[in-house]
Symmetry: C2
Subunit: 211 residues, 2 copies
């Protein structure tokens, strides 16, 4: 039972493991103390209180999202590759990402990606305010899509499900459309399709045609 001195890192590691497995609600100070084999109050000495413990976990997660290396030949391809990388990273830490989001740090977490996008948009020939708009639009698109996708996965069987709502006469005269909407989308395919479409529109030489 002899345990070496408790450290802040040790507390954070145990807390992160708990959150990764069962989500933040499963992280109680008493449960964490039990896991670590110490008194509850020791944890307070090392990390302050529960709120700042969660803050520290979030901070860690933000730092872990640091390195983004685009790949591909054209700027458009490289932008899409950034999108893919982000998608994979996010899907590995669903609970922690949700916490980053709740704390309003989503934007900060994506700053490395934003810098990569700045690079690519510049390589595509965009400058100044128009380049900034393009970077932000793509960034919002990627992050937003991933949030929606996460939401879909977490959701229980929706009632009424899309399947029921998109019966044969939901889209009159287009049974193929009804059928397509009645079956669940392929998230990866739709993600790439969306990012490609937006990128294409934003990098297009002439911005005059406004919908």
């Amino acid at each position: 039972m002899a345990r070496s001195a408790l450290t802040r890192e040790e507390v954070l590691d145990a807390a992160a493991a708990l959150v990764r497995r069962h989500g933040p609600a499963a992280l109680t100070m008493r449960g964490l103390a039990a896991e670590l084999g110490t008194a509850v109050t020791s944890i307070y000495w090392h990390v302050g209180n529960r709120e700042s413990l969660l803050d520290a976990l979030v901070e860690r997660t933000v730092l872990e999202m640091g390195a983004i290396r685009p790949s591909g030949r054209t700027p458009a391809e490289r932008i899409v590759s950034v999108a893919r990388l982000l998608r994979r990273e996010l899907r590995e830490r669903p609970h922690l990402i949700a916490m980053v989001h709740e704390r309003g740090l989503t934007e900060r977490m994506f700053l490395p990606a934003q810098q990569a996008l700045v690079q690519e948009v510049g390589a595509a020939g965009l400058r100044g305010a128009r380049a900034a708009d393009a970077v932000r639009a793509i960034q919002f698109q990627i992050v937003g899509y991933l949030l929606v996708e996460r939401n879909r996965e977490r959701s229980p069987a929706q009632s009424p499900g899309e399947g029921e709502l998109w019966g044969p006469d939901a889209a009159p005269g287009d049974p193929a459309l009804s059928r397509a909407l009645a079956s669940p989308p392929d998230p990866e395919r739709l993600f790439l399709l969306s990012v490609r479409a937006l990128t294409r529109a934003l990098l297009a030489p002439d911005p005059a045609s406004r919908g």
Copy 2:
């Protein structure tokens, strides 16, 4: 002090008011009972428990998002008008929308909007699987953008803020770009710009050019 019989509606109204003002964390069963002037346990008789009380509030919110009437002359304009309407509705109920999201019902909440989009995409000449892709891409885009925007607003002063990170040499050779990224975006403008760009790309006659 004579109070008329407590009803389920009354409980939901008081709970919704509490959540609208101070968020779900401020909704405690004991506090709600105090507000209503009853014993805590009476609430349990009417709504089950806290979890199903929150479920009921979410259900209400989903139903309130029912009516969507597009406006505008072209399909593209009408799609953008749907986006605008959704944005306004969402911004009026931030806490409740977050709860809908947490419960994984975001998609269901947007079904009326989806139906409007189906209509417009069809009017623009898209059919079958390609129409379904366009509807979903636009829907994900709108919902995702609004989630990200909400997140930005809720976030405290970000450290380090974008202002500090986008100093003059962040985008070498393009000071105008650096300046644009250092100042906060105009969310409404960026929203419209994004939706328009994606819509333009998706409704374009030739889908052959893939990034």
